[in-house]
């Protein structure tokens, strides 16, 4: 190991025990001591950054590299057009400032600042006394030709030195798997500090652009695998119920059953859009059974992937034949016969220029939803140094006061929404830039309000909502939530700021 002599001397002068160690043959130099022991003992290297010649310097990279800095590349996920890298580096003494990507053996073609996260395994390995964010990761959009060749990766340190990363086994995924993996990682990563604040910073810094382009690429692969209609189809249904199914098939039959408990379903149609391809057959089966038992029209549109709430509902509404649309979650059920009557009162044009939500109850009879409002969360906003908008429910969990009136609100839950399809179409449907789910309902309400149309909480629309039971949760949904919160806040920030 070579080190500037003045640094070597300064280290020995400052830590005379090290000279003793060299004399005893325990170590051969001050630098070796620092790298192997001193830095873990809180000692300081009083010279230029620790440097070592890279084991295999890139032919076209004349700059010095620092393989002596402990690091590892844990995963490289690659798909046509996108690359995700995840690893760790001990950069406590020379800060990591960039991650560079290029074809192996060539100058890097792309560079981005690193996203960081805490790695307790790294902290244990390095035996550090206090936590630090040793993990690094980044998502790149890469030219297709780069994806076809061996990848070269480098870490750039504040000192200007570079570390060549060994990408190891590059895992090649489909676009959709890649997006799920990245979002899954994003939702699970550990940070020192606020997840929300960091997400906003990272997304603002360019991650959002790459994620959106990746999401766009995935969106282009969506298609319907099958479509089937069962039961008697009314020529012109009074209401079209549109419901997105994800992960749990049971609710189709049970939801139709609960409607049948309180009303004849001959004038309705139910459209279930399946976001879980592996449930395709089960849902067709249950649609046929439910249509037969309850005497109603049920359509199944089965998609090839989890397309999210927006897309699935847009697909379902496009197939709906009633003028009045009821978007309903699979875990929402009528409270009593009056609930269905209240819905039919909004049918046939009576829901024009308005979007209506209902009074939703938890299974224990307390209120789950009586409309929603927006709040700039003070703590999150302070941490993120920008307004972070969250959606709150009026009187959530409180006892029902019995009111059945209709009141204007800022937004209503997508668990149950009633509107006229012409209005919906005019607005272009649910915004499909949201990933999977969260915030699309609030977004639609704001777009209705932006037109000067009404957003109403209709207390007569009483329904049970077994919130959170209607679908499964996967790791990628947590990552998508970060993105959707950011996207919603950025999309509406100026207008929500102005009330």
């Amino acid at each position: 190991m070579d080190a500037p002599l003045d640094a070597e001397s300064a280290y020995l002068k400052r830590y005379p025990d090290v000279a003793g160690a060299i004399k005893a043959g325990t170590v051969t130099s001050a630098l070796e001591h620092f790298l192997n022991y001193g830095r873990f003992e809180g000692r300081v290297w009083l010279g230029p950054a620790v440097a070592e010649v890279a084991a295999e310097p890139a032919a076209s990279s004349p700059e010095p590299e620092l393989p002596a800095v402990p690091h590892n590349c844990d995963a490289v996920l690659l798909t046509q057009g996108f690359l995700f890298v995840d690893g760790w580096v001990d950069d406590r003494f020379d800060r990591l400032v960039g991650i560079e990507v290029g074809a192996a053996g060539r100058q890097p073609a792309l560079a981005a600042g690193p996203c960081r996260h805490r790695r307790q395994d790294v902290e244990q390995h390095l035996e550090v006394s206090s936590p630090f964010e040793g993990g690094f990761w980044q998502l790149f959009e890469v030219p297709p030709e780069m994806a076809a060749r061996p990848i070269g990766l480098r870490l750039r340190l504040a000192s200007g030195h570079a570390i060549a990363l060994n990408p190891g086994n590059v895992v090649r995924l489909s676009l959709r798997e890649h997006l799920e993996s990245v979002l899954g990682f994003y939702g699970r990563r550990h940070l020192i500090g606020s997840q929300v604040a960091r997400s906003f910073a990272e997304l603002d810094a360019g991650l959002a652009v790459t994620l959106e382009r990746m999401h766009d690429a995935v969106r282009a692969t969506r298609e319907a695998l099958s479509e089937g209609s069962y039961g008697p189809r009314p020529a012109r249904p009074l209401l079209s119920f549109v419901c997105c199914i994800y992960g749990i098939p049971d609710f189709l039959f049970l939801q139709v059953a609960q409607f049948a408990r309180y009303a004849s379903l001959e004038r309705f149609e139910f459209i279930y859009v399946n976001n879980t391809p592996e449930l395709e057959e089960v849902l067709h089966r249950d649609a046929e059974l439910a249509a037969s038992v309850f005497g109603t029209s049920i359509t199944i549109i089965s998609l090839n992937q989890n397309t999210g709430f927006s897309h699935a509902n847009n697909v379902g509404i496009a197939a709906a034949r009633a003028q009045t649309i009821v978007v309903i979650n699979p875990d929402v059920f009528p409270y009593d016969a009056a609930s269905v009557v209240a819905l039919t009162k909004l049918a046939a044009g009576k829901a024009r220029r308005a979007i209506a939500g209902g009074k939703l109850f938890y299974a224990d009879g307390t209120v789950m939803h009586e409309g929603m409002y927006f709040v700039a969360d003070p703590r999150l906003s302070a941490l993120a140094r920008t307004k972070v908008w969250t959606v709150e429910h009026f009187r959530k969990g409180f006892p029902d006061l019995g009111g059945r009136a209709s009141l204007p609100v800022q937004a209503v839950s997508g668990a149950l929404m009633v509107f006229d399809r012409a209005d919906f179409d005019q607005l272009g449907g649910f915004d499909e830039r949201f990933v999977y789910g969260h915030y699309e309902d609030a977004d639609l309400c704001l777009r209705f309000a932006e037109q000067g149309w009404k957003v109403l909480y209709d207390g007569a629309l009483t329904f049970w909502h077994y919130e959170g039971r209607g679908s499964i949760k996967r790791p990628e949904h947590a990552g998508a939530l970060h993105f959707n919160r950011w996207y919603f806040s950025r999309k509406w920030q100026g207008r929500l700021d102005n009330g």
Partner: protein, 436 residues
């Protein structure tokens, strides 16, 4: 009047109290000259040769008026039938037979939606359901025992059921209840074999005016020649009544474990001799722990003193009852769950073998303590050991209790009681329709 009796399984294929009662009732109706038809389910746990390609309903072994419903897609979670053809052909069968009365005895193997279909297919028919157990209320096999500690449950609720099945959310139990009640909503009336069952279901939410108490139909096997013509043994008049027996399913909730424990206590506490005979089957459905205990006691490995003899006689058919009852004095019914009727009580009463039963559910209702049997607290082996001693040693006890045995009501009277319920009338009258 055309009556369709719909039974969970045929007792010829699968033994069990509910199907036995349904079948006895059906036979009684036929004997009474009624136009009764039986539709009994069969599933893939029975002889698969009974399933015929494309058939949902078939005849059964050449028996007139008896049919099988071939169930191959029953969903135990939501109690649904997942075979669209089963729904279709069931509806067709109802229209074809066009009964005035449809009397279901269960929804297992059929599916709750068949109740809705029956109402749709036969809008003018009167529909009835006999409540043979608590499966509608309790997902834990209807036992109403807490799954985590096997204590008795007195009331189902979303959260309490979730405690028993932590992987199922309270909301799913709410939905389960809603769905079951929706399906039960089609019935004109319900028949409970005991007041205990009636009270439980009314407390759960069934309309009180619709729930009638009519005892189960059961032939009196003491009328068989093998019993009636049996010469009395001279020893019967002189010996002690120290022969006890268990009849029924060899599963944990039937409480044989309590008897084993009581035998241990008895062996230490008393010096009398006794015999204990076990009659029954389905040990395969018992817990591993119980199976081990059973094997130990029956094989003698457990090490009871020789004066206490435990014998396992194997399963039994109703026609075996005279012989099995002839060699015992007392019938033990030590159930540790809410036994809702206790068919074995009927068997004990018809042979005048006084029951010693748990003070629980339908047992406590049917056994009059100290009059026609003896009761002990469910699960109390200590008390049971003392009852063994008293039963053996108390002069005149057996004779007094045996003499007071109520026997069983005739199937004819049970048929008549059902007909009264089927005919409707004021709820009070229907409530009093129980057989003498």
């Amino acid at each position: 009047m055309k009556i369709l009796e719909i039974s969970l399984f045929h007792p010829e294929l699968v033994r069990g109290g509910a199907q036995q009662a349904a079948y006895e009732l059906f036979l009684g109706m036929r004997r009474a000259g009624l136009d009764a038809t039986l539709l009994a389910s069969a599933d893939l746990s029975g002889p698969k040769a009974l399933f015929k390609p494309g058939a949902i309903i078939t005849g059964f072994d050449g028996r007139k008026n008896e049919f099988l419903f071939l169930s191959d897609a029953f969903d135990h979670v939501w109690l649904r039938n997942l075979n669209i053809r089963a729904l279709h052909w069931f509806e067709e069968f109802l229209r074809d037979r066009n009964p005035d009365i449809v009397h279901f005895h269960h929804f297992l193997t059929f599916g709750l939606e068949l109740f809705l279909i029956a109402r749709r297919a036969l809008p003018k028919a009167r529909l009835f359901l006999t409540l043979h157990e608590f499966l509608a209320i309790c997902r834990a096999d209807g036992h109403m025992l807490r799954t985590f500690d096997k204590t008795l449950c007195t009331e189902a609720s979303s959260v309490r059921c979730h405690q028993c099945f932590p992987d199922t959310t309270p909301e799913m139990f709410r939905l389960r209840e809603d769905w079951i009640k929706q399906a039960l909503g089609v019935f004109d009336g319900f028949i409970a074999p005991t007041e205990f069952v009636r009270e439980r279901y009314v407390a759960w939410g069934l309309p009180a005016r619709k729930v009638h108490v009519v005892t189960n139909a059961q032939s009196d096997y003491s009328k068989l020649d093998s019993w009636r013509l049996r010469p009395p043994s001279p020893a019967d008049r002189t010996r002690r009544h120290n022969r006890f027996a268990f009849f029924g399913q060899l599963v944990d909730v039937k409480g044989l474990g309590v008897v084993f424990e009581a035998l241990d206590i008895f062996a230490k506490r008393y010096e009398e001799a006794l015999t204990f005979e076990i009659n029954g089957s389905n040990l395969k459905f018992a817990s591993e722990k119980f199976r081990g205990q059973f094997e130990d006691f029956v094989s003698g490995k457990h090490g009871l003193p020789e004066r206490i003899k435990v014998t396992y006689n194997g399963s039994y058919a109703m026609t075996d009852l005279p012989a099995r009852m002839a060699r015992i004095d007392w019938v033990l019914v030590p159930s540790i769950w809410w036994e809702i009727f206790g068919l074995v009580l009927s068997e004990a009463f018809m042979f005048r073998r006084p029951p010693i039963a748990s003070r629980i559910g339908g047992l406590a209702e049917r056994v009059q303590n100290e009059k026609n049997g003896l009761l002990f607290d469910a699960g109390d082996a200590d008390e049971l050991a003392d009852i063994f001693y008293r039963a053996i040693t108390e002069e005149g006890l057996w004779k007094r209790l045996s003499a007071a045995s109520p026997g069983v009501p005739s199937v004819e009277s049970v048929v008549q009681a059902h007909l009264k319920v089927f005919a409707g009338g004021p709820p009070g009258a229907a409530r009093r329709a129980r057989a003498a």
